[in-house]
Each structure stands twice: as structure tokens, then as C-alpha cells.
């Protein structure tokens, strides 16, 4: 068997504070605050890997299977970066998200993420798993199982989980597309990992700046939309082009309540695609006048997106909303992305203000 199975399991005690590392990739961009608050409530020191760089992407692409999607490759790179930066770690935190709704699943790659990392690359540090599986148990049971490994009893863990959930809810209310990246970065206390604000060249001439604004909706998973390295700073770039950016996080949570049915009879069973479809539904019906165009961010070889994109695209076509699907991979260059979004914005602007 693998070496990491036989590693001694560290416990938390009064004089020892556990060090737990979290890779800054995949659902860190969505549930990251929750994990950080929960682990902090369990008296452990949380260390987060550095923001994605070219080196992390390259190591990830080297370690992972070539056919996997880019975010997962980046995850491999982040785990390696964590091991290199903090060799004294007690645990690496890799969650297993199966479902948070009885009839739905996450993408199969999330279902066995801990095993993929454990057997895919030989990790010298034990892996700490939080299982979220609404088909089998309440989320608090998964938390208690995790607390047991760290040496906490049921009461302490459930208290920590409830407090973390409350804090996460409050945290989420204040977040929108404009401050999402910065507020996530605040979770990391390491001064080396500070995200520097990059200045972008203003595209619009000064005399007409602000006169012809556009509203652009960015659809896609949070790990594509807010991962500025892989999407080449898409949000900032759109803002320099006088566009107001909207994302899934800007939509009122009320709109997410009604379930989606495809072709009126088929169940929608992907959790990760649920929000995308609901947002698309809102902007296709009630909020049609609020946006001028849609950009769908897809990572190459993403399974669910390959089909959902087709659905959304065909619906947008019938409603005549301009639609661009940007496919990202580890080789995509900056100028390729810029050309495509510039042409989209120019086209919409010409149509709207002529």
C-alpha cells in the first residue's frame, strides 16, 4: 500500500497547536472561508498555499494526468507548493464534496478528490478529509468525524461547526463580484502571499470614458471566475473597458430557490451546475434587460460544462443575447483572451449605442 497510509496520526493537545494546510484551488474559492473558520475554531493554525503562479501551474500539469481539467491540475500544483513551503505541516486538508442536496451530485472528480491526490502523487503528509454527503448524513456528522481525527469530542466539534457556519454566512453576505478576490485573500495571514493590485492600461480614451457603459454577466465556476491567473484577470480587464461585471454571487439568493428542470421533464442533478443554470434562467427571463452580453468561462475537458454550455448557448441564441464561451487551459495566452473579449465588447457596444 501507499506510504501515506502508515504515517503516524498527530493529535491536538493543550501544548501543541496543529498546523493544517489548505491548497488555494478548486472549492477554496467557494467554501474556503468556512473551512478556515472551522479549523480555527478547532484551535489549529491554518496555512494557505500561495496564489497561483506560472510555476504552480507547471508543476501541476507535470504531476497530474494530461487529460484532467485545468483546475484539478492546478490543485495538484498547490498541494506540491504547500509541501514545499511548509514541510512541518501536520495535515493537508482535502474535502470530499459528494452532495449538499439529496438528489444532486458534485462532479465525479470532487467525489474522490482525496484519493486522487493520495494515490495520484505520493504525499508525505497525512490527509484530513471533511465529507459533505447529504445523501448519507447531515453535514455536522461529517464535521464530527473530522473532529475525532484531530482529537476533539462531539460537543466541541459541533459547536465549532455551527459557529463557523454562522460566520461563513455573514462573510458571504458582504461579498460581491468586486471585492470577492480581496476578501478571500484576507484569510491568508502570510505577508508573502499578498495579492498586489495590478494596473491595467486604460483602453477607452479619456474624453468618452464612462459614457457608454455595458453590463456583462460572467458565468462559470467560482474557481474559474475568481482565479485571476488562469482567466488572465478577466474581471479587471473588463472593468478597464467600461463594463460593469456581474457574477453569480451578485444575484439575490431568493432566485436560487426554485429548482431547474431541463426540457420540462428532466431532473438536473449536478450541484456545481445548478447555480449557473439558475443564474442563466434569471437573466433569460426576468432580468433580460439588466445585461448586454454573457461570457461563459469553461476549463478545457470540464465534463459538466461541456453539456451545460450547449444548453445555455442555445437558449441565449433564441433570446438573441450575445454569448461568448471562453475555454481556458494551461497553455492559453493572455493576448488570445484579450482579443476575444475586446471584440465581444466592441460588437455589443456598437449594437447598443448606434
Amino acid at each position: 500500500m501507499n506510504t501515506s497510509n502508515n504515517l503516524p496520526v498527530p493529535y491536538s493537545s493543550k501544548n501543541k497547536i496543529l498546523k493544517v494546510g489548505i491548497p488555494r484551488a478548486l472549492y477554496f474559492y467557494k467554501y474556503g472561508p468556512l473551512w478556515v473558520f472551522f479549523l480555527q475554531n478547532l484551535k489549529s493554525e491554518v496555512l494557505i498555499s500561495a496564489p497561483t503562479t506560472e510555476k504552480i501551474v507547471a508543476t501541476g500539469a507535470k504531476l497530474a494526468l494530461s487529460e484532467l481539467c485545468v483546475p484539478l491540475k492546478i490543485y495538484f500544483g498547490h498541494v506540491q507548493a504547500l509541501i514545499d513551503e511548509y514541510p512541518e505541516l501536520d495535515y493537508i486538508f482535502i474535502p470530499r464534496y459528494v452532495s449538499t442536496h439529496e438528489k444532486q451530485y458534485y462532479c465525479p472528480k470532487f467525489l474522490i478528490l482525496p484519493e486522487t491526490i493520495k494515490y495520484g502523487m505520493n504525499v508525505p503528509i497525512p490527509i484530513l478529509t471533511l465529507e459533505v454527503n447529504a445523501k448519507k448524513m447531515h453535514s455536522i456528522e461529517g464535521a464530527i468525524q473530522m473532529g475525532k481525527i484531530l482529537g476533539f469530542d462531539q460537543e466541541e466539534t459541533s459547536q465549532a461547526w455551527v459557529l463557523a457556519l454562522q460566520k461563513y454566512k455573514k462573510f458571504k453576505e458582504n461579498m460581491n463580484s468586486s471585492n470577492y478576490i480581496m476578501s478571500l485573500a484576507k484569510l491568508d495571514s502570510n505577508p508573502l502571499h499578498e495579492i498586489k493590485k495590478r494596473k491595467f492600461r486604460e483602453v477607452i480614451p479619456e474624453n468618452i470614458r464612462g459614457k457608454f457603459p455595458l453590463d456583462i454577466l460572467i458565468l462559470g465556476h467560482s474557481y474559474n471566475v475568481y482565479e485571476s491567473h488562469i482567466n488572465k484577470h478577466l474581471i479587471e480587464r473588463l472593468q478597464t473597458m467600461d463594463c460593469n461585471v456581474r457574477t453569480i454571487e451578485d444575484l439575490n439568493p431568493e432566485k436560487f430557490k426554485k429548482p431547474v428542470k431541463i426540457n420540462k421533464i428532466y431532473e438536473q442533478y449536478w450541484q456545481s451546475e445548478d447555480e449557473i443554470l439558475k443564474t442563466a434562467r434569471y437573466y433569460l427571463t426576468e432580468g433580460k434587460s439588466e445585461i448586454d452580453g454573457v461570457i461563459f468561462l469553461i476549463s478545457f475537458a470540464c465534463g459538466p460544462d461541456s453539456l451545460i454550455q450547449e444548453l445555455v448557448m442555445r437558449d441565449m441564441k433564441t433570446r438573441k443575447i450575445p454569448f461568448l464561451s471562453l475555454i481556458l487551459d494551461e497553455h492559453s495566452g493572455e493576448s488570445g483572451v484579450i482579443t476575444r473579449i475586446e471584440s465581444l465588447v466592441d460588437m455589443i457596444r456598437r449594437k447598443k449605442y448606434n
Partner: protein, 426 residues
């Protein structure tokens, strides 16, 4: 009104699918033709860019049926699992309608066959008005389909075992074609129950080489890819012609039994694979890993994993199989990631080098030496020449042993007194 329906072929499984719908009143089944390069090309043209290959192939088949065979209703299985299969029907329906075809894709639910949601589609197709008589047809056609499925599984399994032993090249392929044709046109339930004798008789006519020890491999992977010979470049036949004994583990019958929760073989494999994949993630990922671990103790020389490009579950399974260093159970394994551009010549080079590797292992690696066991199916077909019916079974198994026993007892009784003095003298 008679509805003309069709479905994706999935290799020989089209016989079973045809059986499922043929006997329903109000339905005219048009059996799909064999998949060709043209069909795949049409499908790939209108499909999303990086969707998995089965989607493109089945969509191509639908368009081909609409244009050349005047069929406008199609049956497609859907699922509620984490894999993409559940979205096939709605999106194919949408694409067909956007292309301007007057066609509909009817879903047949297969996530759990015990909840009988699949029967709804059959009931909906039948035009019988009496609600009870409706069920009679459905039960009858399901029964015939299940029996045919089991024979398809038997024939495809025997095909892989026998082809490496044939003396005249092409005998097995011819026999399989003949048997499948016979099975497709056989509708009598009594004859179907006795079809195993036909299978045995036809296969036993093939002249074979006994006393050889061929290389043995397992071929597994995603169901559609493994079962559709055009898509996987007929890898079973290619290996067979090179003299390799192929154990094909994916069959439709096996899958249906699993969905009815009575497949003990798969349950055993799940247990083996549990440390690596703790829950069903769609596709065949769990059982691929299970087969890989199980093959260690069964004297196999190699392992072939076939999957469509960008398939989510099979990719993760491959990552787990491949990533471990050092591999705790060493077995040569080759992966074929297939899409519409895959050509045979590129595959042949890899296939031949894999066979060379296995041959070298046989000669040099003690793990692979002298552990060849002849499959019992070969013995059952080619050694047992006597035809057993009721009387011959009585004579062979009951009368003859009994007569022998009585003879021995009688002999002992009469000869005991004479033999005693002899033994004393010695």
C-alpha cells in the same frame, strides 16, 4: 397508429434492445445499422466540442436513422448518477430540434431498475388500451430481452477465448456472426431457453489447437466503448488474431444484473476497490480498479483499459492506477483514450509492443511464469462430445455407477473365501 422507433446500437446489444421493443403492439422497430466512420463524422460535427465519444456516436446514429431510414422516435437511456449520461437525452433532443429535424428522444430511466421507472417508457409506447393487457406485453418482451442478453454475453465471452486457438483464421468471427443472426431472429421462448446447445454445437465445429498456453489479458473500461467494436477498433479481434486470449468483462447482461442489485461479482469487486474509490462515481471506474486488483491472483499477463477522451470517472480511475509509485501490484497495463480521430495504425504499434512486453514477462519474470490455467469454458465445449438427454444422463450418472458398485460387491462376496488363504501365504 404504428410508431417507428430506433435506438443506439452499442455493438451486439442492439439484438437485446430490439427484443425489448419488437413484441410491443403499436411499435415498429428499425434495427440500427452497424456504426461506420461516416456516422461518427456526422455526430462529431453537430456535438459540443469536448463531450465524450458515446454522445457523438449515438447522435450520429440518430441523424443517420432520420435521413436514411425515416425513423423519428429514438430511445436513449438516462441516469441520475454523477456522470454525463443523464444529460444525453435532453441535449440530443435539443440539438436534433435545432437542426430542423422533426424528431424526439424518449428517455428510459436506468439508475435503479428495481423502481420500475423504465417500464413507464414501454407502457407509453404500447397502444393497447386495456391497462392489464399492457403489462402482459411488457413482461413478455422484458423476459425475451433478458434471455437474449444473457446469450449475447455468453457468445462474446467465448469469442475472446476461442479466437486465439483457431487454426483457420476467421472461423470464430464467422461463427459469431452466424450465431448472432440466429439469435436475432429467434422469438420462440422454448427455443431460446435451449439456445445454449446451439451455441455449444456451433463453437465446437471450429477446429482448434489445444495444448497451447496463450497470453491472457483482461479488456475493460467504459461500457459503450468496450461493447462497440467499430469505436474501439475491434481490439478484441486484433488481440485474438495476434494469439492473445481475451477476457471481455463488460457485457450488457452484467450491467443489467448490477442495476437489479443481484450481481455478486460486482459487489466483490467493489469491496476490493474500496480503499481506492470509496463510492460509485459513475462509469466503470470502481470495477476497473477492482478488476485490476483481482487480476493479480488469476494469472493474467496484461490489462487493457478503454475509455472515451475526457471521460470524468475513467480518467480519475486511470490517475489512481497510474500514479502509484512503486505499484503495489505490478501488472502491465495499457490505456486507450479514444475519440473520433483515433486511427487503427497508431493503435497497432502500441498493441504490438504491449504483446512483446507480455511475452518478455512470460520468459523472464517469475511472477508470470507457469501460472497459466486453461479456462473451463474451453474444456466444456471441446472435450465433452456426448450429447446428454434424459435417458443417457440416467444411464451415465446413475445406472452405470450403481451396476459397477453391485458388481464389485458381488465379486467381493464370492471371491472373499478363496482369496483369504492366498493373502496369508504372502
Amino acid at each position: 397508429m404504428v410508431k417507428r422507433i430506433s435506438f443506439p446500437s452499442m455493438g451486439w446489444s442492439r439484438i437485446a434492445f430490439r427484443a425489448l421493443f419488437e413484441k410491443l403492439p403499436g411499435v415498429e422497430v428499425v434495427s440500427p445499422p452497424i456504426v461506420t466512420r461516416e456516422i461518427v463524422k456526422i455526430g462529431a460535427k453537430v456535438s459540443p466540442e469536448f463531450v465524450c465519444l458515446p454522445f457523438k456516436v449515438t447522435l450520429g446514429e440518430f441523424i443517420n436513422m432520420i435521413e436514411n431510414h425515416d425513423v423519428h422516435t429514438f430511445i436513449m437511456s438516462i441516469d441520475c448518477g454523477p456522470c454525463r449520461l443523464g444529460f444525453y437525452a435532453p441535449i440530443q433532443d435539443k440539438i436534433l430540434k435545432d437542426l430542423g429535424y422533426d424528431a424526439e428522444v424518449l428517455p428510459i430511466q436506468q439508475d435503479d431498475l428495481l423502481n420500475f421507472k423504465w417500464a413507464k417508457t414501454l407502457l407509453q409506447l404500447s397502444n393497447v388500451t386495456n391497462p392489464i393487457m399492457k403489462y402482459v406485453d411488457v413482461i413478455h418482451s422484458t423476459r425475451i430481452a433478458l434471455i437474449k442478453m444473457s446469450y449475447i454475453a455468453d457468445i462474446t465471452k467465448l469469442e475472446g477465448l476461442i479466437r486465439c486457438r483457431e487454426i483457420k483464421l476467421g472461423d470464430t468471427t464467422r461463427t459469431v456472426d452466424l450465431l448472432m443472426n440466429k439469435l436475432d431472429n429467434e422469438w420462440d421462448v422454448y427455443n431460446l431457453h435451449n439456445f445454449d446447445k446451439v451455441v455449444k454445437r456451433e463453437f465446437s465445429k471450429i477446429p482448434i489447437k489445444r495444448n497451447i498456453q496463450p497470453l491472457r489479458i483482461i479488456v475493460t473500461g467504459e461500457n459503450h466503448i468496450v461493447m462497440e467494436p467499430f469505436i474501439n477498433m475491434d481490439v478484441v479481434k486484433k488481440f485474438g488474431e495476434e494469439g492473445v486470449e481475451v477476457h471481455l468483462v463488460n457485457t450488457l447482461y452484467d450491467w443489467i444484473l448490477h442495476k437489479l442489485h443481484i450481481n455478486l461479482k460486482r459487489k466483490k469487486l467493489e469491496k476490493l476497490a474500496k480503499p481506492y474509490i470509496p463510492l460509485d462515481i459513475g462509469g466503470e471506474a470502481m470495477w476497473v480498479i477492482g478488476h485490476y486488483i483481482e487480476a493479480q491472483s488469476h494469472g493474467f499477463d496484461g490489462f487493457i483499459h478503454l475509455y472515451p477522451f475526457t471521460c470524468m470517472p475513467e480518467n480519475t480511475a486511470r490517475g489512481i492506477l497510474e500514479g502509484q509509485s512503486p505499484d503495489p501490484f505490478y501488472l502491465p497495463v495499457q490505456f486507450y483514450s479514444l475519440d473520433e480521430h483515433t486511427g487503427y495504425e497508431g493503435m497497432r504499434t502500441r498493441l504490438e509492443s504491449f504483446i512483446d512486453l507480455m511475452k518478455a514477462n512470460r520468459e523472464n519474470n517469475p511472477k508470470f511464469m507457469n501460472n497459466y490455467q486453461e479456462p473451463p469454458e474451453i474444456k466444456a465445449i471441446f472435450d465433452d462430445k456426448t450429447q446428454e438427454d434424459g435417458i443417457s444422463r440416467f444411464i451415465n450418472h446413475i445406472f452405470t455407477p450403481l451396476a459397477n458398485n453391485i458388481g464389485i460387491i458381488l465379486k467381493n462376496l464370492f471371491s472373499s473365501e478363496e482369496s483369504k488363504p492366498n493373502t496369508r501365504e504372502n
